[in-house]
Symmetry: C2
Subunit: 549 residues, 2 copies
């Protein structure tokens, strides 16, 4: 703990102040990570391909290999196939001792795991790139340091909350006849039980770490169930965690991997076990809703589909706005849960520093900005990455059925991986009455420029569609403080985080650990924010003892 | 706010330190509350009897009068009969402006309500006495200052948590090429919606205030649905709240009363409304379970039945132990959710400062201690109070069917109220195999002395019965630190708060605001503690906005 105390204290302070903070540098540069880090990481990744992933654990159901890179190659890594009974039994056995490990020791273990993951960031970057389809730099950042920072943020939140409400006290009640009635009291933050973290295909580490690390610090064991398409990043994580636990003389089964054949449906099985008291899930609305309705014995946090919204009213920086939006639409081919989908513009057009722009002109200019961004093959690879899954490809390729295509998707060749599935963003024009189309999520590089009567209608539609279908992000462009205030009002009612007039190097789809909340829990897209007090507080109970002192 | 700042700051500090703290003196003495407070309060209460309770509010479904004092008289106070549609509509209307009232202003309103309630403590004491059957002094304390302190504790928890996670920040990310990327961010704690607080018959204010005041500070409106047998204490509370809101220029419908005819089933109706996003309930396991299963749109907190347990292993203070236990069993005729029910003693007896006592002797001595305590007519009224409800009377009167009666209940005359339903505690001997009897709650003055093989079996049965049927309290007597440690271990596993070797003026059924948690949420007796972080964190979302600075 002594070694990790400065990291932890700084993180706790950062969570409170919510300014810029990072413990893990986001730049994949040699000056930060060392001369050898990149080639060593790449070699480590390549050595895993086609090989068995060494991971001991309970159960004996053979091995599974389920991953194919969106860039082409089959990974061929094999993992132990999850045996639900054995996993639950092992996790429950590990719970008794983990609950009795002090919060300080649990936090130290968590930070040590994160530090080691950080040193493996290059290996992780390749693993994330070739499971999610993210570009290498994005995979490095989002899958490595940014995910590690989010994990540390969860450690800090949990550690801070436990420290604030648990511990010891001396209660001394003055008595009328002099002397005091004195009690010594102890409050223990008691983990609720076995946690189940169900990872997604697109952000296997970033979306799982807050839950995994909050679970650890609050005294819960965790079974990590990766998406069959993105096992390796979480297998690496679990292996590192088990190493740290073992070296600390603790039960490695505090963290377990549940890799499965897609037909095993092990997530649904595990989620209903009475021992499983916490479930975290990122993925489809259908399965998220099912978990909420059925895993009644557990504290369930889900992140599901949504209709991220941009309201364009006016701007004093037309080109920077277009560039910012183009980047947001293109980044990882719109496959972020934070990517904008619905852009509302008033029928009368928008006032800009380049004069009034009608909806048609805005749509065309936005399309041109996107085409310009992704037209350069060098940038294409870094911005778009590859498309994950046939569902996204099918949706993009059928986009013309949705409305008038302003920008048609293309399938350019990837400069490095000839078999990569690459698509440039599609932009479709819709009128406000086509809520049947834009009122639901079209996951992937598909967005809509929707003509509203005026900005009032745009804000009303933001409020209504997000209240109904949820959203992780919303964004507004206006030169009017009055419009911005009304947008904030609408966002507050809809319960969505709002970015205003982003034109510089901050994008609506990016949230910064220790500062930005991700999601709110106030609309159907997610039940909680990462990492707000509810997300952490649901993971432990306070159990007290007292005696005369 | 300025006026209430010292009260609030001290309360926030107290919640962290968890030592002795109180803002509202518990002594009903003239030196504290003034010469006239007692007669003025009594007169105010008497003026309400047989009269219409003046409370404006939405709806027009006539009036209801449902209260009869456990001490005899029908109260005859009439209240507006709840109109669920009108209440939900009014509460939802009030929500928009209340959400936009600042946390500081909301906290100030909450503290002002509590301060005014404190000044009405004598009137409240009579109202609580004649609805719950508590003795006057207990009704004054538990219904007045102790409830107010619990309310203030909830205000402090909520205010502290909002202050810690919401507010504003400046985010400045250093850029490689110099200069910083600077964002101004704002985080708003957004109330989840309409809250429903369902009161109980025995502690209408104490069990409702944490939810009501946590709701207020976190930006939720609240409909207070009292038990038909204990309306007046909550009607007084709601009336005071509405006065404060109105005087502050705010919508009084932020707090509404839902008095009902018992056949109206308005609680079940309200709990399922989509606008109702928070439900708090104290009462039967059946209805609590129903709420948890059905009010899926809401954050539901329940407190239900349990089997509070005492493990007697050994003691160095036999008589003080007996006196302490006798008091705990007798207080309010065992009608506290914290009253002990199951006392486990080893078959070989217990070592004491008066030599070894076998189970029979312990049971007889405990019976004698209880008989001695309640045998004095002067103390009888102050300790026992009156029995609330025919269900309790029926259970007590049939106690001989449960096992061998060590102490038979009696029905002494109340010195002041000839029609009061008074019962002294019954104690029944059972063997450990009669889990069919002691494994469920027998609400009222009924307890069991249960012979276990040894203390190990006692602890095993504590662990098992509480895991299965829940408990709000547990208690252990032992001179062995090893046994105490094992008892703490068992209590931690069962998720129950443990009192150890209580012999002086602290009783297992009493919990101190700002210091003791009440319940844990870790066993079936309750989903949360009052007032732990989960209890508060479930009541708001964090919604963020950000822009370039």
């Amino acid at each position: 703990m002594e070694r990790h105390r400065p990291t932890l204290d700084a993180a706790v302070e950062a969570v409170r102040v919510r300014g810029h903070h990072t413990a893990y540098p986001e730049s994949p540069s040699r000056s930060v990570y060392g001369e050898d880090a990149a080639p060593v990481g790449q070699a480590a990744f390549e050595a895993r391909l086609g090989a068995d992933f060494p991971l001991d654990g309970p159960g004996d159901r053979g091995r599974v290999a389920t991953e194919r890179s969106p860039y082409g190659p089959v990974l061929g890594v094999t993992y132990p196939r999850a045996d639900a009974d054995a996993l639950v039994a092992a996790s429950t056995r590990a719970l008794a001792s983990w609950r009795r490990t002090s919060p300080d020791d649990r936090a130290a273990v968590a930070v040590e795991i994160l530090d080691r993951l950080n040193r493996r960031s290059f290996e992780m970057a390749h693993a994330v790139q070739h499971t999610t389809g993210q570009s290498f730099v994005m995979a490095f950042q989002a899958g490595g340091p940014h995910a590690q920072d989010r994990g540390l943020e969860a450690v800090a939140c949990a550690y801070d909350m436990i420290g604030r409400y648990a511990g010891e006290s001396r209660w001394e009640k003055p008595q009328r006849r002099g002397g005091g009635l004195v009690m010594a009291k102890r409050y223990t933050a008691r983990g609720r039980g076995v946690g189940l973290v169900i990872g997604c295909n697109t952000f296997p580490t970033w979306n799982s770490y807050p839950a995994l690390f909050a679970n650890l610090v609050t005294g819960n064991t965790t079974i990590v169930k990766p998406h069959p398409g993105a096992v390796l990043p979480l297998a690496l994580t679990v292996a590192v965690a088990r190493d740290v636990l073992t070296e600390a003389g603790l039960d490695p089964d505090v963290v377990l991997l549940a890799a499965e054949d897609p037909d095993d449906r092990v997530a649904a099985d595990l989620a209903l076990r009475p021992e499983v008291r916490i479930v975290d899930f990122t993925g489809s609305t259908a399965f998220g809703d099912w978990l909420e309705a059925n895993a009644r014995q557990a504290f369930v946090s889900t992140e599901k589909a949504g209709v991220n919204t941009v309201v364009v009213d006016s701007t004093a920086a037309y080109r920077p706005m277009l560039a910012n939006l183009a980047h947001s639409l293109s980044l990882y081919s719109g496959q972020m849960c934070t990517s904008p989908q619905n852009l509302f513009v008033p029928s009368g057009g928008i006032e800009t520093d380049e004069g009034r722009k009608g909806p048609d002109e805005f749509a065309a200019d936005l399309g041109a900005a996107v085409a310009d961004l992704v037209g350069d093959p060098a940038r294409l690879a870094g911005v778009l990455g590859a498309v994950v899954g046939d569902g996204v490809l099918a949706r993009v390729d059928a986009v013309a059925e949705l409305g008038e295509t302003v920008l048609a998707p293309t399938a350019p060749a990837h400069p490095e991986f000839p078999d990569a599935a690459v698509r440039t963003p599609a932009i479709v024009r819709l009128t406000a009455d086509r809520r049947d189309v834009y009122g639901r999520e079209h996951f992937g590089p598909i967005s809509f420029v929707i003509t509203a009567r005026d900005t009032d209608e745009s804000l009303r539609l933001l409020r209504e569609t997000i209240t109904e279908s949820g959203a992780i992000t919303a964004s507004v462009y206006s030169t009017s403080e009055d419009v911005l205030a009304r947008a904030e009002d609408a966002a507050l009612d809809a319960g969505v985080n709002l970015s205003e007039n982003l034109t510089r190097g901050v994008f609506v789809n990016q949230s910064a650990a220790f500062s930005d909340y991700h999601g709110t829990g106030a609309n159907p897209a997610a039940t909680a924010s990462l990492t707000d007090p509810r997300f952490v507080a649901g993971r432990f109970d306070l159990v007290q003892s007292r005696r005369h002192a």
